[in-house]
């Protein structure tokens, strides 16, 4: 062997060149200051909301729309919010819907995840139900409300059924596309490390598929929320408790336009809030930890 004496003289030089290269090629990432975030991210949507409110008020003040049963004033809608808040009913409406929505979503997660894995990994299952699963995503879940009412009657289990039928396909499909997009290199690397069979699925495939899975969860939540609102509007029954969909339907029967606006805005904001509080941070964390999210 003509090779042994390598370390003593050469190593320090090599080491310091290396340290220099490492320092040169490592990018420093710093936190964005709050002022920047305020100007870049928070101010623009606030400005947009202000413009909408101004136009809305303008339509009424300039008497372009002059019929409070068609378009209430922003003040009247604010009044509807305030009354419900002061009567202690506002949080009750929100909680009824949100608890249903989140519980239904969790059930969808429990069912959709193994289903997605099965479709992704078993050829026969994929050929059998893969196309139906992605086709179901384009079926508006409102369509499930009438059969669900006939099967299960007007109760909570019917609501959950409609949520499941809306969300399970999204979650399963997200996982399937996540698994499909796992780079083959990771699987080969995993195999050389000894991750085969179940260990390969657990240590390599599932974590590698996480971005697609989270995207599917995000879409699944949007579908859950929509299906639930449809179910609440159509299946309006006092014993079920008043959620946001029922609030909207009640407002319609009472011809109370301010309350209709209140309900619509609540449905919109709660949907956005859940996404902003739960799913967007989850997605950002998954992508950022993999270096897939470039700070802008």
């Amino acid at each position: 062997m003509a090779s042994t004496d390598t370390t003593s003289t050469d190593a320090p030089a090599a080491g310091s060149v290396e340290a220099g290269l490492d320092a040169l090629e490592t990018t420093q990432s710093s936190r964005i200051p709050f002022r920047r975030t305020l100007i870049d991210k928070i101010l623009p949507p606030l400005a947009a909301i202000a413009v909408v409110l101004l136009v809305w008020q303008g339509l009424i003040t300039l008497k372009i729309v002059d019929d409070p049963t068609k378009l209430p004033t922003p003040g009247a809608v604010w009044g509807a919010f305030r009354d419900d808040w002061l009567q202690g009913k506002l949080l009750g409406y929100i909680w009824t819907s949100v608890s249903r929505g989140l519980l239904g979503f969790c059930l969808a997660l429990v069912l959709g995840t193994p289903l997605g894995l099965l479709v992704a990994r078993v050829k026969f299952v994929r050929a059998a139900i893969g196309p139906i699963l992605s086709g179901l995503q384009s079926l508006p879940s409102v369509a499930w409300v009438p059969p669900a009412v006939i099967w299960l009657g007007l109760d909570n289990s019917m609501m959950y059924t409609v949520i499941l039928l809306g969300a399970v396909p999204s979650i399963a499909n997200g996982l399937v596309s996540g698994v499909d997009q796992v780079p083959p290199l990771f699987l080969r690397a995993g195999r050389t490390l000894g991750a085969t069979g179940f260990r390969g699925t657990w240590h390599i495939t599932l974590p590698a598929a996480l971005p697609g899975y989270v995207a599917g969860m995000k879409q699944g939540w949007a579908f859950s929320w929509r299906s639930l609102m449809a179910a609440e509007i159509i299946a309006n029954f006092p014993d079920l408790g008043t959620g946001l969909g029922q609030l909207l339907e009640n407002a319609r029967t009472a011809s109370d336009m301010a309350m209709v606006f209140e309900a619509i805005l609540l449905i919109l904001f709660v949907g956005i809030a859940i996404d902003l509080l739960i799913f967007s941070p989850l997605e950002r964390w998954v992508l950022r930890s993999r270096g897939l999210l470039v700070k802008g």
Binding site: M1, A2, S3, T4, D5, T6, T7, T9, D10, A11, A14, G15, V17, E18, A19, L21, D22, L24, E25, T26, T27, S29, L185, F186, R188, A189, R191, T192, L193, G194, A195, R199, H203, I204, P207, A208, L210, S289, R290, G291, L292
Partner: protein, 259 residues
């Protein structure tokens, strides 16, 4: 007992032994022979580079030795499951540098309390102490390959297979990594089978250079590299031998243009 003794005795003989290995792939026009009757030994502690132009099936050969694919004919024996390093770092982006190494330890059955310390040791070996908690995307190309090397070493395999691991790096980084690999090889006593298309790299690193011909891949010639380490890629003897090998390699490639 007798079998384990026999195994131990045999494992001293070679780190990898390839006997009359052939590989063909099914193509629309029939089967295509990629590797033809390759016999090759890698001795324990030996550093061998496999050199060849594109289409010589060097990566296919490495996959066979790694056990990722089966030969069509012939036998491949290795002393345990070899570690494999790719041209792309193939680090898992959902884990930190340290956790990537720990995963290799875990899959090998190293108990949890020992993993952290071993991972830190391996990072130190590739001079990346302090990179334990770094995410893959926070590391430079050269650092990623060093973590990948540390992860391969974590397998504590007798044989390290390297598939053009430095091909995507810039020249200075590659040069530094050549030094590192030579140092780690001599410190650990590993056997290395290193695939490259870069003649100078092959001569810079190896004790023995094996030249493969293309389509199908056959062992065309072998050179013992007697130049003492530490070598540099710009050393005169390295350049001289590289020139000689390049001439033979060109001859091999030229044959394909004639028909």
């Amino acid at each position: 007992m007798a079998t384990t003794l026999a195994k131990a005795a045999r494992s001293v003989e070679y780190a990898a032994r390839l006997e009359h290995v052939s590989k063909s792939f099914a193509t629309p026009g029939g089967s295509q022979l990629v590797l033809d009757d390759i016999s090759l030994d890698v001795a324990p502690g030996e550093f061998v580079t496999l050199l060849g132009a594109s289409g010589c099936g060097k990566s296919t050969l490495l996959n066979l030795v790694a056990g990722l694919d089966e030969p069509t004919a012939g036998t491949i024996r290795t002393d345990g499951r070899p570690a494999l390093m790719f041209q792309e770092h193939a680090l898992f982006p959902w884990l930190t540098a340290g956790k990537n190494i720990e995963l290799a330890l875990k899959l090998r059955g190293v108990p949890r309390p020992e993993r952290r310390g071993k991972a830190e040791e391996l990072l130190e070996l590739v001079r990346l102490q302090g990179a334990y908690g770094k995410r893959v995307h926070e590391l430079s190309g050269g650092m990623r390959q060093r973590v990948a090397l540390a992860r391969a070493l974590a397998q504590e395999s007798q044989l390290l297979l390297m598939d053009e691991p430095f091909a995507a790096l810039d020249a200075i980084t590659r040069d530094v990594l050549h030094d590192e690999l030579t140092r780690i090889w001599s410190e650990t006593g590993l056997s290395v089978l290193f695939v490259t298309h870069n003649v100078r790299e092959a001569v810079r690193l190896a004790q023995r250079v094996v030249l493969l011909s293309s389509r199908p891949g056959r062992v065309a010639r072998e050179w013992e590299v007697g130049i003492p380490q530490p070598r540099r890629i710009e050393d005169a003897p390295v350049a001289e031998l590289s020139l000689e090998i390049t001439e033979v390699l060109r001859g091999e490639i030229r044959r394909h243009g004639q028909h």
